[in-house]
Amino acid sequence: MTTHYLVLSALLFAIGGVGVLVRRNAIVVFMCVELMLNACNLAFVTFARQNGNLDGQVIAFFVMIVAAAEVVIGLAIIVTIFRTRRSASVDDVSLLKY
């Protein structure tokens, strides 16, 4: 019954993961992270429905809040980097290394 939701969730998570690993544009990477978070939310909600309690739904709300905070800080960093380096590529910001 809930298998379809879980498969969809896994697919969304995989798409998001691949996007984070292969895309260079920071905005797209960011959107992929959001996709992964939402895939998780879908899984939580599905399990909440399957188990007949609210635990999963509560956690989904927490994830949304954390995701919102993360977006605020993340976008601010990306904008700042874009202003200084005229690029949104994550490979260009590789100064912090050995």
């Binding site: 690993l21 590789s94 050995y98």
Partner: protein, 632 residues
């Protein structure tokens, strides 16, 4: 006759005996802490403190004479550290007061002499501070009523000796000699310290009255061990074989130091220790035999070294070793010998200080030249020094009726009664003494002038000659005063005991005549070789015996081969192990971790996506592992 009981005492000069120690200590503190401000009057303050100490000693002596002989051991309690266990107190008895009088009287004279001798030294104040420090420490050594305080004084005189030998530390030889004296003394101190530990373990107290009165209750094995350990201490401080090597080098110090510390007082501390610990040695026959053997070996070794030295002070140092050998020999015999050992110690303090100061006076006149081959014919230009030195010389060789005649002959007679072999060796030593002291006097004061062209000898100032004159008076009369009628033995008996039968004085016993004949033969031989004959300016090569004596009987070579070289090897081994072993381990570990981290940090590329990949792989790995484990 056994030693008398110790009576607790307070009041009078004896009650204030601590002043004897405190006064010179205050002098030293003022001069050392006062710095240059005290330069102007430093020497006068030093003399004043020494003389004040002598006055206290003399008053205590007078008060002591007022008591009946059996009540002349007075204990003064100063402070109780641990109730019932550790007390600090002083013991004023005939033995300690004899030492106090010798130390403060000869010490005061040498203080006065030093005013003249050190007049041109920029550090004269510091010199007097050290002299005062020495007097305080030496008095603490002899006045202490327990072994701990004795040890404090013992170390104090060692420190003062070190500071004074190295007083001219700008000379490398003086700095080395000071270190050598300190290190060799450390060996002796080690023995003494272990001895004191053993005493405490055996008797559960360190006070003289508790230890010495109960000495007969301990087993003879324990007493032998304690006796031998104390002997090691005595050997170090008194320059007896096998710890004699520092004394000859100690002559690098200013001459008044050689006179006070390395002839008259400090080096006799070992004799004091043996005599003070008499009951311990009397219960340990083996230890006594070892003491006499050490004494006789040193008296011969010192005399032989004295025959070959061209340095006037080193010849006198050999003689000091030899004379202290006599004292140790007598002290090793027991009650019969104690009085003669201490009497010889006192007269030796006078005539040896007299001769050392005389040698200092000669050096002062000859631009600090110490080589006797560059002296000669000084008797006319330095009449006072010559006459006083001559008196000291006649006293030490045992010329009839002078001090040394009575005290040294007393030792030889006592030893002869005890053991004929030791006795004849002591007689032989006296003969050699006759030779080397005559050699010294002939080379210095007689014969032709062999002076350096720059030398303009002159008599020393009065501040230096008066101490010589006073000391030489002691060198003339003190022996007869102490020995005739067994005066000193009777006086000392309450402190150290005395033989049941007082020895009678035979003016012309066979032993005495044999000694005199040998001494005369030695003196005549010296006259033939060094008085009448020309003394070559450079020392002739001589036979291997001469070389043997010149090289201090290879004592230094032996020490170097046995201790110094292996010690250096050990040090090098330790340094190698430290550099390669310990450091190698630590440095290797650090280098290994550093190298590994250097390679590992290359993983941090700065590319966010590769980090993400590694996180992803890690998560996949964990998930896979969980699946596998979960399925098991």
């Amino acid at each position: 006759m056994e030693p008398a009981e110790i009576i607790q005492h307070s009041g009078g000069a004896i009650g204030a005996a601590w002043l004897m120690i405190a006064l010179p200590l205050v002098g030293a503190a003022v001069l050392l802490l006062g710095g240059r401000r005290t330069d102007k009057f430093g020497h006068l303050l030093g003399v004043l403190m020494a003389v004040a100490s002598f006055v206290v000693a003399a008053l205590s002596f007078v008060q002591l004479l007022g008591f009946a002989p059996g009540e002349r051991r007075r204990g003064i309690e100063l402070y109780e550290f641990i109730p019932g266990l550790a007390k600090m107190g002083l013991l004023v008895d005939p033995l300690s007061i004899s030492f106090c009088l010798l130390i403060t009287f000869v010490g005061s004279l040498i203080h006065v002499y030093s005013i003249g001798y050190m007049a041109h030294d920029p550090n004269r104040r510091r010199f007097f501070a050290y002299l005062n420090l020495f007097v305080a420490a030496m008095l603490l050594l002899v006045l202490a009523d327990n072994y701990v305080a004795l040890f404090v004084g013992w170390e104090g005189v060692g420190l003062a000796s070190y500071l004074l030998i190295g007083f001219w530390q700008h000379k490398p030889s003086a700095a080395t000699a000071a270190k050598k004296a300190f290190i060799v003394n450390r060996v002796g101190d080690f023995g003494l310290l272990i001895g004191i530990f053993t005493i405490f373990a055996t008797f559960h107290t360190l006070a003289f009255d508790g230890v010495l009165a109960n000495a007969d209750k301990a087993s003879s094995g324990t007493l032998t061990a304690i006796g031998l350990l104390l002997l090691v201490g005595a050997c170090g401080k008194s320059a007896q074989l096998p710890l004699q090597s520092w004394l000859l080098d100690a002559m690098e110090g200013p001459t008044p130091v050689s006179a006070l510390i390395h002839a008259a007082t400090m080096v006799t501390a070992g004799v004091y220790l043996i005599v003070r610990s008499g009951p311990i040695f009397q219960g340990a026959e083996t230890a006594q035999i070892v003491v006499t053997i050490v004494g006789v070996a040193t008296l011969l070794a010192g005399a032989i070294i004295g025959t070959a030295k061209d340095d006037i002070k080193k010849a006198l140092a050999g003689s000091t070793m030899s004379q202290i050998g006599y004292m140790v020999l007598a002290a090793g015999i027991g009650k019969a010998g104690y009085a003669f050992a201490i009497a010889h110690l006192i007269t030796h303090g006078f005539f040896k200080a007299d001769m050392f100061l005389g040698a200092g006076s000669v050096m002062h006149a000859m631009n600090d030249e110490v080589n006797m081959r560059k002296y000669g014919a000084l008797r006319k230009v330095m009449p006072v020094t010559f006459v006083t030195f001559l008196i000291g010389y006649l006293a030490i060789i045992g010329f009839p009726l002078l001090s040394g005649y009575f005290t040294k002959d007393g030792i030889i007679e006592t030893v002869m009664e005890h053991n004929a072999v030791l006795g004849w060796l002591a007689v032989l030593g006296a003969g050699i003494t006759g030779f080397y002291m005559s050699r010294l006097v002939f080379m210095t004061f007689f014969g032709a002038k062999r002076w350096e062209p720059t030398a303009h000898p002159h008599e020393s100032p009065a501040v230096m000659t008066w101490p010589l004159i006073i000391l030489s008076i002691g060198a003339i009369g003190l022996g007869a005063f102490l020995v005739l009628g067994n005066r000193f033995m009777t006086f000392l008996a309450p402190a150290v005991g005395a033989p049941e039968e007082m020895p009678a004085f035979h003016p012309f016993s066979p032993t005495g005549l044999a000694t005199l004949a040998l001494v005369a033969a030695g003196a005549v031989f010296a006259w033939l070789k060094y008085g009448r004959a020309e003394v070559p300016a450079l020392a002739p090569r001589g036979s291997f015996l001469t070389t043997f004596a010149r090289r201090d009987l290879y004592g230094d070579a032996l020490n170097e081969a046995l201790f110094m070289r292996p010690g250096q090897w050990l040090t090098r081994l330790a340094v190698f192990f430290d550099n390669r072993g310990v450091d190698g381990l630590v440095n290797g570990l650090a280098a290994g971790i550093g190298g590994t981290s250097g390679r590992l940090r290359r993983v941090q590329t700065g590319f966010v996506r590769s980090y993400a990949l590694s996180i992803f792989l890690g998560a996949a790995l964990l998930a896979g592992a969980w699946l596998v484990v979960g399925n098991l």
